[in-house]
Amino acid sequence: MTAKKLKYYVTGILALALAFFVFVVPFLFIIVNALKDKPEAALLHFSLPTETHLWDNLVAVVEARDYMLITAFINSIILTVVAVTGLVVFGAMVGFVLQRRPSRWSGLINFMVLAGLIMPPAVVPTIWLLQWLGLFKTLSGLILIEIAYSLSFSVLLFRAFIATIPRELDEAAILEGAGPFTLFFRIVLPLLKPVAVTVIVVQSVAIFNDFTNPLYYLPGAKNATVQLTLFNFQSMFNTSYNLLFMNILIITIPPLIMFLFFNRQIVEGMTAGAVKG
């Protein structure tokens, strides 16, 4: 019994020490260097700052390049909110009909969903198309792109969840005289709340952190999203590592908040499909 207890504590402490060293130290490194002044941060040492410059650095990062970070945050928030709303509504509509009404189209649609999940998008033809549509370098264009690229994930989660809602419910609503619109938006959609939360949280983090699509489809400092500011800052503050780390810290806060509140839903969404019943 005592040997077992000893083993329990030793493995526990070892695991914690290793996790701290491998996964926590890099974050502490970001934090301590975000608080230093410019010459001290340039040493890239993992040490406490001799003097903390939290406020100075914060102000410097926010003010840099004509308040670019503020613009970027506004852009990223609009992008994330609108794209995720579209993903939830359109994804749930597809998942609903796909699950409830098998037809000769179902096979094709399932194939499209998988293709959307696996295939990398064709970049330059998309840019060419967006230019033709007048959507290149516009936030609306990027919103539609994010919806197109993440629809598959959203459809899969909604379809699986809708399969657990009894059909009798639909029938009762239809008997009461509900049309398809009422049936879906009034009866079914509210029941999808748990899976909708999962889709919202997982996709918000993914779209907020997206770098590649804004890089291709929304270039230009004026339109920057938060991930792109990070890139612009890197060359601009070539030696101002303190500001660079402060910037990383600031854009890590939204995902951190999501993580603290929705840890369970995030993990559920990301592991969906791992345990096939």
Binding site: H45, R101, M119, A148, I251
Partner: protein
């Protein structure tokens, strides 16, 4: 069942679940994803300025498989995908087993391992570029404690690709771990108890129970991380931009570089190569892995 069944069932279904519900999603997906994909098959055969094109047959593809810097991209993509995917399977499974066992502060450990998944890839890339600095970086400071001299992780061509792959695993192993946790938790505890009764040791229990029954998790981790690895771009771009030389270029970074240089036809050919690569690896593999599962 009764109201929608038998009599007039088709009309009932059509009325309650209208096809036009597909429409918004179908338009967005069809126009912005499918159409460019088909268009890429054509434009990959052209020299293209976005305003005009001239048909040049397979010249772009011939260039892709003969120019050393493009071939590098292809080879590196394969190495990177296999290394990151393999590491995530092994480490994810080990962590999954540890974090489903009766270990101290299990919840905290799970959170710590998972959190990097949610952090900006670019932020992680920049941070590790600093940590891997050859003379000032924290990693080589630690190596020096053991009396060794660490290499220039990101600027030495022998190490650069593997260094980026390491960071990819660092950031992504949390996802593999939670997938394994979900898979391992779903294995009935009776199997382990029965095996213990029969005197199976920990290694035997792992080999005969955990490994085969966590197979769906393994398949998911392999497929997900291969897709991610083959398409990987942002981490490489944040850390090395394909350098030194072309030693960390992958197909996705070649596509971006050729696009920036204005070689739109060649860039699109790279995209077609990437489709084929992803489809040719992932589709047969998922068929093979899922079939075996049914047989077992």
């Amino acid at each position: 069942m009764t109201t929608l069944g038998k009599k007039g069932s088709r009309r009932g279904l059509a009325a309650a679940y209208p096809t036009w519900f597909y429409l918004p999603a179908a338009i967005i997906f069809g126009v912005l994803f499918l159409f460019p994909t088909f268009a890429s098959l054509f434009f990959s055969l052209t020299r293209w300025t976005l305003f005009q094109y001239s048909f040049i047959g397979l010249a772009n593809f011939r260039q892709f498989f003969s120019e050393p810097f493009l071939v590098w991209g292809l080879v590196n993509t394969l190495i990177y995908a296999v290394v990151t995917s393999g590491s995530k399977v092994v480490l994810g499974m080990l962590l999954g087993i540890l974090l489903t066992s009766n270990v101290m502060v299990r919840g905290l450990l799970r959170a710590i391992v998972f959190f990097p998944v949610l952090v900006s890839t670019i932020g992680v890339g920049i941070t590790f570029t600093m940590l891997m600095h050859p003379t000032n970086g924290l990693i080589n400071d630690v190596v020096a404690v053991f009396g060794l001299k660490g290499p220039a992780w990101l600027t030495d061509p022998r190490f650069a690709l593997m260094s980026v792959a390491f960071v990819d695993v660092w950031k992504g192993v949390g996802l593999a771990t939670v997938i394994y946790i979900a898979g391992i938790v779903s294995i009935p505890a009776e199997y382990y108890e029965a095996a213990k009764m029969d005197g199976a040791n920990a290694l035997q229990r792992f080999w005969n129970i955990t490994l085969p029954l966590a197979r769906p998790a393994t398949v998911t981790v392999i497929i997900l991380s291969l897709i991610g690895g083959l398409r990987s771009f942002d981490l490489i771009w944040a850390m090395t931009k394909g350098g030194p030389g072309f030693t960390t270029d992958v197909v996705a970074s070649v596509i971006y570089k050729q696009y920036q240089a204005g070689f739109y036809g060649l860039s699109t050919a790279g995209n077609v190569v990437l489709f084929v690569l992803v489809a040719a690896i992932v589709v047969p593999l998922s068929f093979a892995l899922n079939r075996k599962e049914v047989e077992a």
